[in-house]
């Protein structure tokens, strides 16, 4: 009997939780704010779902009842992606070592 692909995805999910657990514990506390802003940015990879949804509309009716939600989601996720990565960049650029 074949294994349901869902089980594979579940395995990836569970293993990623563990990876996340160990990686995040190694983040230095002084960078916890950039951690939050960068996790914000990467969770906006949800934009891939939004793009598929938006492009599912046909050419006669680009904004149909389902694709319009895709477009709106693209808008929101894009704010987050650009805003999240750039504000993280801006913060990280400020962390400097003592001049010896």
């Amino acid at each position: 009997m074949e294994i349901d692909p869902f089980v594979f995805r579940l395995s990836i999910f569970i293993l990623s939780i563990f990876v996340g657990y160990y990686v995040v514990w190694s983040v230095t506390p002084s960078l916890h704010t950039p951690l939050m802003s960068v996790t914000n940015a990467i969770s906006s990879v949800i934009i891939v779902g939004a793009i598929i949804a938006a492009l599912a509309g046909n050419n006669e009716n680009i904004f149909n009842e389902s694709s319009i939600f895709g477009f709106l989601a693209i808008l929101l996720a894009a704010i987050n992606i650009f805003g999240g990565f750039l504000v993280t960049q801006r913060m990280l650029a400020m962390y400097k070592k003592k001049k010896k």
Partner: protein, 465 residues
């Protein structure tokens, strides 16, 4: 066009790059490279998605347009936002992730063919469950973050809002969400789907309103976690590895931060969620307090004490952020260092309104990060330091947490500020902190209260030198 297998591999690469992005944050030196990996991962994910749809018609131009409009708005905010407003910015961003998850779920529900999830009215059972979870968690994240944003921005009172039967109501609603999901799967009815989303919005609001201002670091971390689980839920629906990996990473990241914040306050996660802490019972506490003598001084006294010290520890808190005093503080420290005085900064895990809040503000004011220490690293040094300069912190320095088992903050790890030879405490009045507890430190022999705005006092001290 690009094959499904190749597509999945590219998403895997994105996922790995996101892991590296978080890994980079283990030290400030590697962090910038980490952020670059994150951007690269995002770029790959978006590009291969475009290739996979193979749709470069008029719709595609609109997609790019929406992307650029949102992107420029996001970039504009990122460059304009003052560092003191970071907590509300992050809360705002969380709400967007939540809402985006809801929109994607709605879109998938209305047009399941686009995602290979079956046909409308007959969506695959597993997909429908995943979709419901993604939509519900996304909606909770959205409305919860909006409330957190309003509280942090000061547009809504930070005081907890509680009413009778609140917890029972929340419990009933959570049960009804599970029931709704069940019936939704049985009937595939779209009205149930809309009801589910509407109720989840309501839960988000109800969950966050009873939580007080001082617990905001936990709330923000928790919502961070929720936004991850929402993304993971959608990832399962869309069978997308990048989303599943990212969702799991973000979900566990937020959960760990919540844990660290709860530990920093010696409170259980459960008691924070139940809320009602802080702000409500201040009055009856101060009534039975006898008037105790307090020593207060001015900027000249403070300048004198610090100039004659050989080591000074700065303890910043939320008040520093409110007064925007970080730049003045750095100037003051520069003067001290010129006089050969050793200066370091001590940061409590829950200082400020979000994890790491103080570190970012100090970094903004050009304070080198190797002068900034966490509680465990520096707590023993207070005994050997001449002056502790407490600026905008309160509860995290209260020695009562170590001595009085009756106190609501008993057991909370605190900075041992009282062990310093002298303590300079900048505060506008003797009012208690967010926990509603009077600070014992105010009445100590070695404490000198400096009643003023944090920024003004620091500037005055610079003048007095």
């Amino acid at each position: 066009m690009i094959s499904t297998n190749l597509l999945a591999l590219f998403y895997l690469i994105s996922g790995v790059l996101f892991i590296l992005a978080l890994r980079g944050l283990s030290s400030p030196e590697t962090s910038r490279q980490g952020n670059f990996f994150g951007i690269l991962g995002m770029l790959i994910a978006v590009l291969v998605t475009f290739l996979s749809t193979g749709n470069f018609s008029t719709s595609f131009i609109y997609v790019i347009a929406f992307l650029l409009i949102g992107g420029s708005f996001g970039a504009f905010i990122a460059f304009k936002i003052p560092m003191t407003a970071m907590p509300e910015l992050v809360a705002g961003f969380h709400s967007l992730v939540g809402l985006a998850a809801v929109f994607v779920a709605i879109s998938a529900f209305l047009n399941p063919q686009a995602f290979n999830l079956g046909v409308s009215g007959n969506i695959k059972l597993a997909s429908l469950i995943e979709m419901s979870i993604g939509a519900a968690v996304g909606a909770i994240t959205f409305s919860g973050s909006i409330i957190a944003f309003l509280k942090l921005r000061g547009l809504m009172s930070g005081a907890p809002i509680t009413f009778r039967g609140q917890h029972i109501l929340n419990l009933l609603i959570l049960i009804s969400i599970i029931g709704l999901t069940y019936f939704l799967c049985a009937t595939q009815s779209s009205s149930l789907f809309w009801t589910l989303i509407a109720i989840s919005f309501l839960v988000g609001i109800l969950l966050i309103i009873p939580i007080g201002g001082a617990d905001m670091p936990v709330v923000i971390s928790m919502l961070n976690s929720y936004s991850g689980w929402a993304a993971a839920g959608i990832g399962f629906t869309l069978e997308n590895t990048a989303l599943i990996i990212t969702g799991a990473l973000v979900g566990s990241s937020g959960a760990i931060l919540s844990y660290i914040m709860c530990k920093g306050m010696n409170r259980s996660f459960f008691s924070v969620i139940l809320g009602g802490f802080g702000g409500s019972d201040q009055t009856n506490k101060s009534d039975n307090k006898e008037q105790k003598p307090v020593k207060s001084g001015n900027s000249d006294d403070a300048a004198f004490l610090m100039k004659n010290a050989s080591s000074v520890i700065i303890v910043p808190g939320y008040g520093m952020a409110v007064a925007q005093a970080q730049h003045a503080l750095r100037e003051m420290v520069d003067t001290l260092k010129k006089n050969g005085i050793k200066v370091s900064y001590a940061i409590h895990p829950v200082a400020g309104r979000m994890p790491g809040h103080m570190n970012v503000l100090l970094a903004e004011a050009n304070v080198p990060y190797d002068e900034v220490f966490e509680l465990e690293e520096i707590n023993n040094d207070f005994a050997n330091c001449d002056v502790a300069y407490v600026i905008g912190a309160n509860d995290v320095t209260n020695p009562v947490a170590k001595t009085d088992p009756q106190s609501p903050i008993y057991g909370m790890p605190i900075l041992d500020v009282e062990k310093a030879k002298s303590v300079l405490f900048v505060k506008r009045s003797l009012s208690p902190g967010y926990a509603g507890v009077d600070n014992d430190l105010f009445y100590r022999e070695n404490t000198l209260m400096l009643f003023a705005d944090a920024k003004k006092m620091t500037e005055d001290i610079i003048k007095s030198f």
